[in-house]
Subunit: 258 residues, 2 copies
């Protein structure tokens, strides 16, 4: 195990850079923080793990676990509490994190998909992560992030996926061309829209389908609407103008699942 | 308009006390912060508004709006930015808030309800607020908060409801006795449960129904389960152990609505 005791330590500098998309892009690495998500990374993406970082108090309380990582050949760094807190963007750091390699980009054509989710401008990291978590539960085969979504490897996104990121095929930085490709492959493209739409329960879908969820503030973009086959809305009673984006996506996925 | 310029100002002391349940209980008041929620309060609970508080820069940018409040007889306080920020628990205060009277407790018997939501230990303020927002959209007639939920008048809860709090009848601090009462009134009580449950789409409900959503960490309590008629689960594919509480509540409400 390698102790980090100075703010100038180069691993610490790397970790700070991974808080930003630029740093992740330049290094091809990302950072996840929290007991649960590190456990999921060890289970599903073990070979992507470059290093594990623990705080001194986490090490003290979880000696056997930390030593077993070390014995299994993982590079383990230990850092003082204050230094560990600095690399986490959570209010109450759990004392363990991991650096992982960003996997090679997936191609849509390689997924044998029947039901996919297309995200158009989902920019709030917590919402994006929650939506990916729900997508796995609802049985979606892939999630396509059009350009303009939050970065999939933002630590807050990764954390909110609760590990689903490691299991659901995610296609990032996609162009709207991919929607045309899906249509050529026989997908019905269903976009959620408040206006000029039919009630979601009236959508009679059969076969392959792609559900489009838009940005929290502006919904689905005009360009994507123009490529869609059907516009659907979740009926809303009372005076509610919109649902939380994560909740709306969850309801739509469950109502449209085959 | 009344300027607040000192930390020792008594309105500021009151506002600080409203951040805590104890302060809200002692005064019978609560505080909401943000442009949208203050607009909703003015629209739906005008007579409950005791005062409006704006920051100096908000006043500067929204002179007509602020003056119209003053002309319409509202007590309007203006506070320096730093003092305003102190009374908000948001990272980026929007510069406007309001103090409202907590309305008298509602009684379940007074609601002519067909579909109600029962919350059992929902403790995360953001989740609670989001669930109340979704409940209005899904057309629920009332939300019952059993003892142990987050406080309905916590500023984070109020904010996350996006105004639904002002429109959906909420019964707070309820005992589990209310479930027995609902059953006597002909309600079918449906609790969400991961184990020993049927798939939610198989639940054949007719007539009046009450949906129970449990705590984020522990689900529905044993006591409440024992009072329930049916246990249902949202089917989950993949390796997902649970859904976000707000998302799960939303899916369940939409799948069970009459």
């Amino acid at each position: 195990m390698i102790a980090i005791s100075s703010r100038d330590n180069k691993t610490l500098k790397l970790l700070r850079s991974l808080q930003r998309k630029k740093g992740r892009k330049e290094t091809g690495l990302y950072f996840v923080e929290g007991v649960r998500i590190v456990e999921e990374a060890l289970r599903w993406r073990d070979s992507d793990i470059e290093a594990v970082i623990v705080s001194e108090s986490f090490e003290e309380k979880n000696k056997n676990f930390v030593y077993s990582l070390d014995e299994n050949g993982k590079t383990v760094y230990t850092a003082k509490e204050s230094l560990f807190a600095e690399i986490c963007n959570t209010e109450t750091p759990q004392g363990i994190g991991a650096i992982l390699k960003i996997p090679p980009a997936l191609k849509l054509a390689e997924q044998n998909a029947e039901f996919v989710l297309i995200l158009d401008g989902v920019s709030e990291p917590g919402n994006l992560g929650t939506i990916i978590r729900t997508a796995e539960a609802a049985g979606l085969d892939a999630v396509i992030l059009l350009k303009g979504c939050a970065d999939l490897y933002n630590p807050k996104v990764v954390r909110a996926t609760m590990g689903s990121l490691f299991r659901v095929p995610c296609i990032i930085d996609a162009d709207t061309d991919c929607i045309t490709t899906l249509k050529e492959q026989g997908f019905t493209v269903v976009a959620t829209a408040l206006k000029d739409s039919i009630e979601i329960s009236s959508a009679q879908l059969s076969g392959k389908r792609a559900l489009v969820i838009g940005s929290e503030a502006f919904g689905v973009s005009e360009e994507v609407f123009s490529l869609s086959d059907i516009k659907v809305r979740i009926p809303m009673a009372g005076e509610v103008e919109s649902l939380n984006a994560g909740v709306a996506a969850g309801i739509a996925m469950y109502l449209l699942k085959p």
